[in-house]
Structure formats: C-alpha cells, structure tokens
C-alpha cells in the first residue's frame, strides 16, 4: 500500500474549522455539544434507510470535527425529511433535526443550496406558497372549488403582508432571491 492510499479517508483533526460548532449553535443547534454519538438518531433516520452518505449523527460528528468543506460539498442535508424521529428518541435532547437545519442555514450563508430550494424560496416570496401550480385553477374548478384558494394568491394585501415579513427577515440580507413587488404567475413544484 502506497503512502497516499494509506491516508485516504483519514481525517486530519488539526485541519478542522473550530468556528463551525459555534455557528451551528447560533443558528438553532443550541444543544449540539450535548451529543455523545450514541446513534439512536441514526437508527431512527429515514435517510439511513434510504442510503444517504450524511445523516443526523454523521452531520453532528462532522460539525464537531469542523469539517466545513466536506459538509458543504455533500447535498445530503437537503434530503432531511424533518420527520423528527431523531428529536423524539435522542436521550440527550440534542434535537438533531435542528442541528441539520442549522447546517442548512450555514450552507445557505455560503450559497451552497440546491436550485430547488432557491425556487421554493422565490415561489414563497412571489405567491405566498412554496409549492404553486399556475394551472391549478382548472383542477380546482373540476372538483367544484373556486379557482383560487382563500390564501395570498387571492389577496394582494395578504401577499404584501407576507412579503413585508420576508423583506425584514434574514433571507433579505442574503440576496438569494430578488425581492421586488411581484404578482402571482409561475409554477413551482418542489
């Protein structure tokens, strides 16, 4: 075995980013340091069953080791179902789901997010719905409903309220989506 092969997959502990854990705790993963890597969360996680490379326990471990680039290079965190089995079973009340969400929040601040998430955010801002189908009026009429549900798509004032909230939220500072005055138009199915 050559020297290069021997070090493949070995984590250089002194190369980790010690600031990452602090960012995660600031962005919602407050109980991160309570984790003892017992893996009850992994045993309950649908992402493990489906075969994703990073899942709750491993994400937490990588954060504690400061492996920022490895986490940003892998899109697994965006497949988390937010099902909260992990939160339910965690004996240390780490709330692993919230740590995964916090890792998404770190990734978004480095613009490492999937296109579908950008589209979902844009659709939320433009229509008030993350999932919006422009042609749904016909389907709704077919089952005897008004073409628009009683939501932001049927009320300009309600949409403006929502847009005001979003324009004053952290999303506005990140510049991921344009935030002008908009009308409801395009389809978004995420």
């Amino acid at each position: 075995m050559s020297e290069m092969q021997a070090v493949t997959g070995v984590v250089n502990l002194s190369a980790g980013d010690p600031a990452l854990a602090g960012e995660i705790r600031e962005l919602g993963g407050a109980e991160l340091l309570e984790c003892i890597q017992c893996a009850k969360c992994a045993a309950a996680c649908p992402m493990v069953l489906a075969g994703f490379s990073f899942f709750n326990k491993k994400v937490i471990h990588a954060i504690l080791l400061g492996l920022r680039e490895e986490l940003l290079d892998d899109s697994s965190i965006w497949a988390c179902q937010s099902c909260n089995r992990c939160t339910e079973v965690c004996p240390r009340e780490v709330n692993p789901f919230e740590v995964v969400q916090a890792m998404r929040r770190v990734a978004i601040r480095e613009f490492a997010l999937p296109t579908l998430s950008v589209e979902g955010l844009k659709s939320l801002y433009d229509t008030g719905h993350a999932v919006y189908l422009a042609g749904a009026g016909n389907t709704r009429a077919k089952v005897g409903l008004p073409e628009k549900p009683p939501s932001t798509v049927a009320s300009k004032k309600a949409l403006q309220e929502l847009q005001t909230i979003i324009r004053n939220s952290a999303l506005a500072d990140l510049g991921i989506i344009p935030m002008g005055e908009t009308g409801v138009s395009e389809t978004c199915e995420v």
């Binding site: 069953l49 099902c83 978004i108 993350a130 709704r140 089952v143």
Partner: protein, 296 residues
C-alpha cells in the same frame, strides 16, 4: 364548533379533491369552517426554516395570528403544515426573546402573535372533539368487510412535545386506526407501518432513494395486510403513494396497485360525498373501491 381551515400548498394546488373532502366532511359532522382568508404557506421546511428561526416563526406566527384574531384553532390535513406550524408555535411559546423578535416583524403589518390558538391535524381534532362514536352514527356508507392499511405520517407523531393532541405512545399510534375502525373497516398491522414514505425533501433531492422507501413500505403492506385501500393521515404521503406506484410498476419493482386515499377523503365518501369531487384526482384506482363500498 368552528375551526380555521389551513389548506396548505399541496392540498390547494395538487389535490384540491382533498380540500373539497374537508369542506364536505367537517360541516357534515357539525364543524363550521372559517377560511382564514389571506393564509400563506406554513412555511415548508426547505424554505424559511432552512434560512433562520425568526423568519420561519414569523411567517408561521402570521398564519397563527389569523386564527387567533377569530378565536379559532387551526386544522390542517397536511403533515408538513402541521409540523411547521406546531414547531413554530412551540418555539414562540417557550422562547420569550424569539417571541419579541417575531412580534417586532409582525408589528410592521399590524398583527401580533399571542399564543391562544392550537394547531390540530384533522383526524386528531375529530377524535378529540367528537370521538369515533359520533362519526359512526353519521355514516351513510360503512366499510364492513374491507381491509385497510395505514400510513400515519411522520409529522402526525413527532416531535410529540410540540403537539396539542397526543398519542399515548407515538411508536404505537392508535388514533388513525381507531378512526378507520369507526368507519367499519378492519385495519391490518404491517412491519413497516411507521417507516417514512420518502415524499418531500427526500423526493426533491433524490427520487430513486425516495422511491426505494415507498417500495419497501408497499411490499410490506401488500405481503402482510393485502389491503383493499391504503389510508394516509397526511397530504404529502397521499401524493407519494398515489403517484409513485405507476413508476414502480413501470420499473417492475411492484406488480400490484393499492388504491390510496387521505383519511378525510374516505370519511367524506362514507358520509355520502360525490366521489368525483372528493376523490376525483386520484391516479390509483380508487373508483373501483368506492363502487364496491357503495354496492354493499
């Protein structure tokens, strides 16, 4: 009795027949619906909850405030809406600093979050407020002799601490089962009952892996229950099970089809609703199931 009906994106735009089922079934049982005019997305997990806690909770709090202003609880049929709204509420009610920040955001639009309305999932609301007996008495059609498999849905169960309506043991849930039994059906247990369906973020991120989960579930319920119908407690699970089966058949992963309905659709049908209006958008063959029920 009156509640605020929170429709949610997928129900309003993908499966409005489910929306129509709620608008039929709840009034038929004496529950009046308020539209919560101006409601928005909950917001769903991949949007503001993935950006920051305050933005997530502010949009959730605006939806909650619409119900609070009318003195109503919120009722939804979507697990994601249920989870996102209930988790936002839990955070707001347990973190005074966050509540202050969120109310600053709401002040710009002339609203305030107080914490007076509860977030309820439709069949849990019915179980808690009416109970199975009142439902049994109102039925026009009964499901005696029919076998059902269940898909409770992750968000109806976890994290249990944020929900107003509780299961005694979330890993042995009973509410959806008892609500189906109230319709006269036999409910079968299968090993993968509590598995995730794979809809949502996972399906967006990797469809193959998502379908792997739904296939495992379908095979397990087919082998162990062989149901006439699969009943979900969540609109996202409904979409996944109703749309994935034709792909799995095409790939020769399954050689059968199980018709799928949300519990509120099945309830509306048993209360006498027009099948085209409350189940007309199903891709699986629910029509033959409905015809059999109505012939009995």
């Amino acid at each position: 009795m009156k509640i605020g009906f929170f429709v949610g994106c997928n129900t309003a735009f993908n499966r409005p027949d489910l929306e129509q089922a709620v608008r039929y079934a709840l009034p038929a049982l004496g529950v009046e619906l308020d539209n919560l005019d101006g409601q928005s997305c909950c917001p769903s997990w991949g949007t503001l909850p993935s950006v920051d806690v305050a933005g997530w909770c502010a949009v959730g709090a605006r939806n909650l405030a619409l119900a609070e202003e009318k003195g109503l609880d919120i009722v939804t049929v979507c697990g994601s809406c249920y989870g996102s709204l209930a988790e936002a509420k839990y955070k707001l009610d347990h973190d005074p600093e966050l509540k202050t920040r969120v109310n600053e955001l709401l002040r710009n639009i002339g609203r305030e979050y107080k914490g007076t309305s509860q977030v309820r999932l439709a069949h849990y609301y019915l179980d808690h407020e009416l109970g199975p007996d009142r439902i049994r008495e109102a039925l026009k059609y009964k499901l005696d002799g029919f076998t059902i498999a269940l898909q409770p849905g992750c968000h109806s169960l976890w994290p249990s601490k944020v929900y107003f309506d509780k299961e005694e043991d979330t890993f042995h849930p009973r509410v959806l089962k008892e609500m189906c039994e109230a319709l006269g059906a036999t409910v079968g247990y299968y090993t993968r009952l509590l598995d995730c369906c794979g809809m949502g973020a996972m399906r967006s991120a990797d469809m193959e892996k998502s379908f792997h989960l739904v296939e495992k579930k379908l095979v397990s319920m087919k082998e162990e229950v062989n149901p006439d119908l699969l009943v979900t407690g969540c609109s996202s699970c409904l979409l996944q099970f109703d749309t994935a089966q034709k792909f799995l058949q095409k790939d020769k992963k399954i050689k059968f089809e199980i018709p799928v309905l949300h519990y509120m659709q099945l309830l509306a049908l048993c209360l006498g609703a027009d099948p085209e209006q409350v189940a007309g958008l199903a891709e699986t063959n629910v029509r033959s199931f409905i015809d059999r029920v109505r012939k009995e």
